[in-house]
């Protein structure tokens, strides 16, 4: 029995490779089916923008080859997928998943999105996972939750878009129901807008130099499209303004917005300038109740949170190690039962055969035969008692795997299917 993980992640493969390996939810069952057909009792495929990983229960030697072959096909050229990949077995495979679920292996340390992605992977692969991987993924979700609640690994905003949310949340009592205006069509503004929308902010207006581009983004966010010239008036109503135009100079100037901001009646306005070069004239920050932050400010917030999170890595790793041992104790115990049963069955057959042979040569009364039979049972039980206890204890302490393998090899045991 074993658990193996193999795949690629943001540390081992560039984006260009990772995006080719990425699986949509609908593709997962077929890919898993193909790998399981090569020889494995269960499988789960975790595929995000930062990783594609196959978790396999009891894989044959051919199963990893099937995974690399499948991924190599997706590369579509002469490159081999295993050049970008890694493989870990047993405890290290369990540790790997727990670290992934806890956000310890994420590009942004401690990010919480991965928890949902692990859950989704498990849900999608449920039919093919098998009992060991079911248990593994269930426990991985609990480990992720435990790390986040007992350490500061998920505290603060560790990326610029989430820092944008954190900064806005220090101005407004609650973000839900606030209105946001997006100026420009930069990727960063879209990312930050997505983060704000997930907190309940309504993006009501999207303004861009070209109206068509504004309309494309506005449709995605169910907002209204404007040209830049139409946008200034709306500084009177919006709570948050996200700026990310491609303009080579400032577009939000004091002259354009000061008269409009004066009509806000003292309501705070949060302007998040995510453009490089900056879109907002720094003088705008001097306006009463206007709070202006540029990309450097947001990155400073993110860096602070990241530093704080890094200091919590040892505590998180400690929890992961604890939970790996707990899982492995269960897993080892689960592996022991069928092997012990097979050993006992094997020894029982030997006892019965040898007793039968001996009794054929002896002419004993029924009472003596019964006596001898009882003696042989007692002897077998005595012989098997200590190894059984030792193996169960070792399994309970998470050290059963080596003993189990030794036992299987010494006695030529292999539990029959269904055992």
């Amino acid at each position: 029995m074993s658990i193996t993980v193999l795949g690629v992640n943001h540390r081992t493969a560039p984006l260009e490779v990772r995006e080719r390996f990425a699986h949509g939810a609908r593709e997962i069952p077929a890919s898993l089916e193909r790998v399981l057909a090569a020889g494995a009792r269960g499988g789960v495929l975790l595929s995000t923008c930062n990783r594609t990983e196959f978790y396999l229960a009891d894989p044959d030697d051919a199963a990893p080859e099937a995974v690399w072959a499948l991924l190599s096909e997706r590369l579509g050229d002469a490159r081999r997928a295993n050049e970008y990949g890694y493989m870990q077995r047993d405890r290290e495979a369990v540790r790997h998943l727990y670290r992934v679920s806890a956000g310890l292996d994420s590009m942004i340390l401690g990010e919480t999105q991965i928890q949902g992605q692990v859950r989704d992977a498990w849900e999608v692969s449920k039919a093919q996972a098998g009992p060991a991987l079911h248990r593994l993924f269930q426990s991985a979700l609990l480990v992720g939750a435990r790390v986040r609640s007992e350490t500061g690994l998920a505290a603060g905003a560790a990326s610029a878009p989430s820092a944008a949310v954190a900064v806005a949340a220090k101005i407004f009592t609650q973000l839900a129901g606030r209105s946001a205006l997006i100026l420009g069509a930069g990727d960063m503004a879209e990312l930050a807008a997505t983060c704000l929308v997930s907190e309940g902010v309504r993006v009501t207006l999207v303004a861009n130099r070209t109206y068509e581009r504004a309309r494309a983004i506005a449709e995605d966010l169910q907002a209204r499209a404007l040209t830049l010239d139409e946008a200034w008036e709306h500084f009177a109503d919006a709570d948050i303004v996200l700026c990310s135009t491609a303009a080579p100079h400032t577009v939000v100037t004091w002259d354009r917005v000061a008269p409009v901001v004066a009509r806000r009646g003292g309501r705070p306005l949060c302007i998040l300038d995510l453009a490089v070069p900056r879109d907002v004239d720094p003088a705008v920050a001097q306006l009463e109740n206007v709070f202006l932050y540029d990309i450097d400010d947001l990155q400073a917030v993110a860096a602070q949170a990241a530093a704080q999170r890094r200091s919590d890595i040892p505590a998180a790793e400690h929890i992961v190690s604890e939970e790996v041992e707990r899982f492995w104790a269960w897993y080892g115990g689960r592996a022991v039962v069928p092997v012990l049963k097979e050993l006992r069955d094997r020894m029982e057959r030997v006892r019965a055969d040898e007793l039968e042979r001996a009794l054929r040569r002896m002419h004993l009364t029924p009472e003596d035969r019964a006596q001898l039979e009882h003696f042989s049972h007692a002897l077998l039980n005595k012989f098997l008692h200590q190894p059984t206890i030792a193996l169960k204890e070792a399994a309970g302490a998470g050290r059963g795997y080596g003993l189990l393998e030794a036992l299987k090899r010494l006695f030529g045991l292999e539990p029959r299917d269904g055992a």
Binding site: F172, T173, G265, P268, E288, A300
Partner: protein, 265 residues
Amino acid sequence: MRPVILVLHIIALGLYAVGTALVLAPFAGLRAAPRVLALAIPLLGVGAHVVGLARLTPFVGVAPTLSMLALFLVLLQVASEGLFRASAVGVFTGPLATGLVGLALLIGLAPEGAPPTRGPWSILHITISVLGLAMLALAFIAAALYLLQFRELKARRFGQVFRLFPPLERLDQLNHLSLVLGFPTVTLGVLLGFGVRYAGGASVDAAQVVWGMLTWLVLGWAVGVRVVRHWAGRRAAFASIASFAAVLLVYLALKLTAPGTERFL
């Protein structure tokens, strides 16, 4: 002083000190205590304090008033945390309440000898007046926190104030609520005080009336600009601080120039 009063006040003092340490811990770079603990410990102190204070009726002397003020400050601190998630209020109220209980213990909570008689209206007057002052103190604290957070946000400094203080709007709401509830409470306390004195045939010093009215008008102005003219944010915070400063200044001025008349509200 009866030992039970002393013991209960010392228990309250200890629990307030622990509660204050929990509030201050994150500012010292330590991990924040669980919220339930940050609420439960001051509340346990309040429990002991209420029992101890109840045995001090009819609240003769300065010490019981200080003790009562500390009690209301802690209650308002817990309410601020519970309703507004404004644990930073405890940065001010925690040490202040702990100090007030300590001061009350130093002064001596109950005078020796037979206590003077005092009617229930008089006790109600004292209680309501002190509650009103505690609310105005909370408004002052919320305003001060607002201005600190405002300065940090404007200056793009993302230190402990940014991380540990509540959002600006929430502090503004806390200031608004404290003023709007505190001013009528103080007014009711003053009216009860005058009623009790006139009913008892006691005279009221002219200085008390003049300064009391002036201070009441300043407080009324701070509430008026918020409620009628819809001031908010920084302007409202300054108004709130100015009005509370007026109360403190008049108290100190009367205490120094005309001792005995400082109880003008």
